[in-house]
């Protein structure tokens, strides 16, 4: 396999953009990534598009707006990990030697009903309740409740994840939420699924993000800025484990592969982006990614270890909680943030001297994608 570099990144601000089309959002992100790379659309030899619920060949239709170049375009759906999967496929397209320049784009329009819509019939809703149906927040509320029981924690450390990530988001002009929240606001906001209030949950939004990858010789010819290499690309689906004998989590197993490929460990990372759709997830991933032992995650956020300025900042752009989570582009927003940080261009949220960053995404149905980027 050949080495691959990220040569350009671009994204729209994540927000509720009800008036903007998918093509409009996607084009803004792709053109920004191409301009960042010093390339134009006909230079792209193959493209991968992460999109969920946007209809057949969403990527092909979106990119047709930029011109019909004949390049092969594939749309991938891996739930929340769709953008990360598109990035991995673009990386593999170049790593295997078939292409020198590949594009990954992700687009999402959750305000157009990409999320779960309520059935119109109230009796159907009552029936769902009787069957014990849970929205995603309910699943993570139960996980939070159990962690609090197992590790003697209150809701406060989970609320602190939200406070921290909103503070990071307030420093990111591309974040959906750019306002800090206080601990009291998190604790006293609207209860969604006990013990989680709405500020423990990521918002619904729209947006797009893109990255251009290239072979090292091609990247060197482009020449602008420091070379950012893809040091690892790991991707797994679930393996069976029974409730009585739980094995390592999918993130643990995927991280092992990623660290091995990169020839590095958690101690070598300078910043990390994870799937914090709900606050308990970030704390769980501190442990699964090897930054502390099981049961120590709450302490990390309480002690400020994972804040910008701390030893290992997590979700420096605000994470899903504040930067937002339009599903299709979210994994590529993580790549965008990591590249900006490794180039030293992150302004007020810059992690000093950052040379290696890890991006982790989980997708419903049971997938995990991890990339490690190194300067």
């Amino acid at each position: 396999m050949r080495q691959v570099a990220v040569v350009g990144v671009g994204m729209t601000r994540f927000a509720q953009h009800p008036q903007r089309s998918i093509a409009d959002l996607g084009a803004e992100a792709v053109l920004a990534a191409l301009a960042d790379a010093g390339l134009s659309w006909p230079d792209v030899q193959t493209a991968w598009c992460g999109a969920v619920g946007l209809g057949m060949t969403a990527g092909t239709r979106l990119l047709a707006e930029l011109g019909l170049t004949g390049a092969p375009i594939t749309t991938v759906d891996n739930a929340s990990a769709s953008g990360s999967t598109a990035f991995r496929e673009a990386y593999l397209s170049v790593a295997c030697g078939l292409y020198d320049v590949a594009l990954a784009v992700g687009v999402g329009k959750m305000t157009a009903g990409g999320g779960a819509a309520a059935p119109a019939d109230r009796s159907e809703i009552l029936q769902m309740q009787a069957m014990g149906f849970l929205p995603p927040a309910g699943v993570f509320a139960m996980r939070t409740r159990r962690r609090m029981h197992d590790y003697g924690a209150t809701i406060v450390p989970y609320a602190r994840v939200s406070v921290k990530n909103h503070r990071h988001g307030s420093l990111n002009p591309f974040a959906q939420f750019q306002k800090e929240v206080t601990l009291e606001q998190v604790l006293q906001s609207r209860l969604v699924c006990d013990p989680l209030t709405v500020l423990h949950c990521c918002p619904i939004g729209d947006g797009a993000a893109a990255a251009v990858v290239a072979s090292l010789p091609r990247a060197r010819r482009l020449g602008a800025g420091p070379l950012i290499r893809v040091a690892a690309s790991a991707f797994r689906s679930e393996v069976y484990s029974s409730d009585g004998h739980p094995g390592p989590s999918i993130t643990e197993l995927t991280a092992r592969q990623a660290y091995e490929q990169a020839g590095a460990g958690p101690e070598d990372m300078d910043l990390v982006q994870v799937h914090d759709a709900f606050t308990v997830e970030e704390i769980d991933y501190y442990e699964s990614l090897g930054f502390c032992r099981r049961g120590e995650g709450e302490r990390l956020v309480e002690e400020g270890v994972t804040t910008i300025g701390g030893p290992i900042p997590f979700n420096t752009d605000g994470g899903l909680l504040a930067r937002g989570h339009p599903i299709g582009p979210t994994g590529l927003a993580q790549v965008w943030e990591t590249v900006v940080q490794l180039r030293g261009q992150a302004g007020p949220r810059q992690v000093e001297g950052a040379r290696a960053g890890l991006c982790q995404m989980i997708g419903a149905g049971g997938v995990c994608v991890i990339h490690i980027l190194k300067r």
Binding site: A118, I125, A130, G132, F133, L134, P135, R146, C193, D243
Partner: protein, 88 residues
């Protein structure tokens, strides 16, 4: 799998869908069944603030409505374990 177990974890759902008028909060739990798997279902017959991890629960049936040929449609749920009835 026996008819009873212990509450492994739970939540009370206040908002099932964003922006939906509440049809009233409801409790859902995962129950570790005696000698068997962990099963998820609605919890009935308990005040929300009386729910507690490890509390004993037992299976009960809920009638959802009427199905084909007028037969009742039922599903399972959990309720706090009832004290055993004494033989007369």
């Amino acid at each position: 799998v026996g008819p009873s177990g212990r509450l492994y974890t739970y939540t009370v759902v206040y908002e099932l869908f964003a922006g939906l008028d509440s049809l009233g909060p409801y409790a859902v739990g995962q129950v570790e069944m005696e000698g068997g798997p962990r099963v998820q279902g609605l919890i009935t017959g308990s005040e929300f603030d009386e729910l507690e991890i490890d509390m004993p629960l037992e299976l009960t049936l809920l009638v959802l409505g009427t199905g084909e040929r007028g037969r009742p449609r039922v599903t399972y749920a959990f309720r706090p374990a009832q004290p055993k009835e004494r033989a007369p």
